[in-house]
């Protein structure tokens, strides 16, 4: 049972992180290859607090705030670049984060931070907390999608120039997407740090960013249910199959490429086209992908 609880907790954390990225990449159309940096910022921010005696319940929002603030800064920097270059910029942010963390003795340097205090909820209680938070993030995503903010995101993901022509302040909306998506990644990071009780630079590297992007792409860019499902499967799989664990970066990288190339709608897109073929009714295409 212990093992299942751990898996479930880790899967819930992955769902939160992936849904955060889905706000940025899926809803607003801004690719990010550095999402693990914000995940890490939340983890480090909170771990610094709780190892110094601050309550977990204060560290949780604080971690979100740190990650969201960093996300806002990166978002500002990314306003000037488009598509392909945004991928490179965000990747750079990911490497920069790791580089800085390694050099900072205050952040544990290469050794990382260990003996992170237990939040005291018990294994099951902590799992419930994670699952509830994942549910809240999913509900928020679904709400957002149907709000006018989601409507404007659709336009920006579709065609930025035309979004401007209907009066949408594209830059501000992008910043909002970055701030929210990265703050949510920060929450996932806090939860991760207090689950594993140890974090180091390697916990938040490029492979993690690729894995998260693969979850979003495989699930179906923008589809909340699809992304959550993919996040669960892709978190659990490496624990069950040793090969997947060993070749994670390679496998998930290849998967990411394959989805972009052959089924840009991801799993959600496949399900939609199956339904369309089976039921004989037409559903307008949604979600455009920049390969």
């Amino acid at each position: 049972m212990e093992y299942e609880i751990t898996l479930m907790t880790l899967a819930g954390i992955a769902v939160i992180a992936a849904l955060g990225l889905n706000l940025i990449t899926g809803f607003c159309g801004q690719i990010s290859l550095g999402h693990a940096a914000f995940y890490g910022a939340g983890a480090y921010g909170a771990a610094m607090l709780t190892t110094n005696g601050v309550s977990f319940w204060l560290a949780l929002p604080a971690g979100a705030l740190v990650a969201g603030a960093l996300g806002l800064v990166v978002g500002l920097a990314s306003l000037r670049v488009r598509h392909d270059f945004l991928a490179i910029t965000t990747m750079g942010v990911g490497f920069l984060f790791i580089g800085v963390v390694r050099q900072q003795d205050a952040l544990g340097g290469e050794m990382g931070i260990y003996a992170i205090p237990d939040p005291g909820l018990g294994r099951l209680g902590y799992m419930v907390l994670v699952v509830v938070l994942a549910g809240l993030v999913a509900a928020f995503s679904l709400y957002l999608k149907r709000s006018w903010m989601g409507f404007a995101f659709d336009a920006i993901a579709d065609d930025e120039d035309t979004a401007l022509m209907v009066g949408i302040d594209v830059a501000r909306y992008k910043l909002a997407a970055f701030a929210m998506g990265t703050a949510i990644a920060g929450v996932a990071g806090v939860l991760y740090a207090h689950e594993i009780k140890y974090i180091g630079p390697d916990s938040f590297g490029f492979p993690e960013s690729i894995a998260m992007l693969a979850m979003v792409a495989v699930g179906g860019i923008g589809s909340v249910g699809g992304v959550a499902f993919a996040a669960v499967v892709m978190t659990v799989l490496p624990h069950w199959l040793q090969v997947v664990a060993e070749y994670k970066l390679l496998l998930y990288g290849a998967l990411l490429f394959a989805v972009m190339r052959f089924s840009p709608g991801g799993l959600a897109g496949l399900v939609r086209s199956w339904r369309t073929r089976a039921g004989g009714f037409r559903i307008a295409a949604t979600g455009k992908v920049e390969p």
Binding site: L144, D154, D158, D161, V166, G287
Partner: protein
């Protein structure tokens, strides 16, 4: 009296190409102004300089005395400009009516977190349907843009601009892709909109319709204003006839 929209000494170049070379003209309140000229004259570039899509090398654009020159595109749109582009740019992942609804919802999309708190799309759907009816494509409301012919997409582009409820409507060849009857009907619609209080700049190659509906013409050629005045007077000007229609050609020559 100051003009509603004033373009003063605007110059635009793309690399070595001088697309606009000191263009000055104005749109008065309630006018339906025809902006004409041969291919490559700079008509589209002039509208894009007005909306801010291209940055002029010099010159100013003002709307109701408000200097637009340094404002980004979305601010100009919110100040009262609506543009229907020559090359259609629908949001392809949305249905036709959603394209128009989004434009009808500028009050709701003003600020991101304000937009997050608003969900009701009902009023915008009603308005959008009315705009689609105005341009005569209500039957295409639920269609995906990729399934629609060019003539319908051109009118969708116009409906979306209308939904912004602009003070100045900029129309770049709205009749392109329409047959004779459809073109005439849409030209009549443009006149009705104008009578309803919208001031309009109309770029159009269909000279027959331009002469019929416009109250004034500005002729561009090679990035310069060649003529500006009442349609008959402008078209009678030898310089305009030579440059625009070829020597000796009449207005009846139709398509330029």
């Amino acid at each position: 009296m100051t003009a509603l929209l004033e373009v003063r000494d605007v110059a635009v170049s793309f690399g070595g190409v001088r697309a606009l070379d000191g263009v000055t003209f104005a749109l008065q309140v309630g006018e339906l102004l025809g902006l004409i000229g041969p291919n490559g004259a700079g008509k589209t570039t002039a509208l894009r300089a007005i909306t801010g899509t291209v940055r002029p090398d010099r010159g100013t654009v003002t709307l109701e005395g408000l200097e637009l020159t340094r404002l980004p595109v979305h601010r100009r749109v919110r100040a009262g400009l609506g543009m229907s582009q020559q090359l259609v740019r629908p949001f392809r992942a949305m249905t036709a009516i959603e394209n128009v609804m989004l434009a009808a919802g500028t009050a709701k999309t003003h600020a991101p977190f304000g937009a997050l708190l608003k969900r009701d799309r009902g009023p915008e759907r009603e308005k959008a349907l009315a705009h689609l009816e105005t341009v005569g494509i209500a039957e295409a409301a639920e269609s995906a843009p990729d399934s629609l012919p060019l003539g319908t997409l051109k009118r969708l582009e116009m409906a979306r601009a209308l939904a912004l409820e602009p003070k100045v409507l900029l129309l770049d060849e709205p009749l392109a892709g329409l047959n004779h009857v459809e073109a005439r009907r849409l030209a009549d619609t443009i006149v009705e909109l104008n009578r309803g209080g919208v001031s309009i700049v109309l770029i159009e190659h269909n000279l027959g319709e331009v002469m019929r509906v416009c109250s004034r013409l500005v002729v561009l050629d090679n990035g310069r204003v060649l003529g500006d005045g009442a349609p008959e007077a402008v078209m009678a000007d030898p310089a305009v006839r030579t440059a625009y229609l070829g020597a000796g050609a009449g207005v009846e020559a139709g398509h330029a």
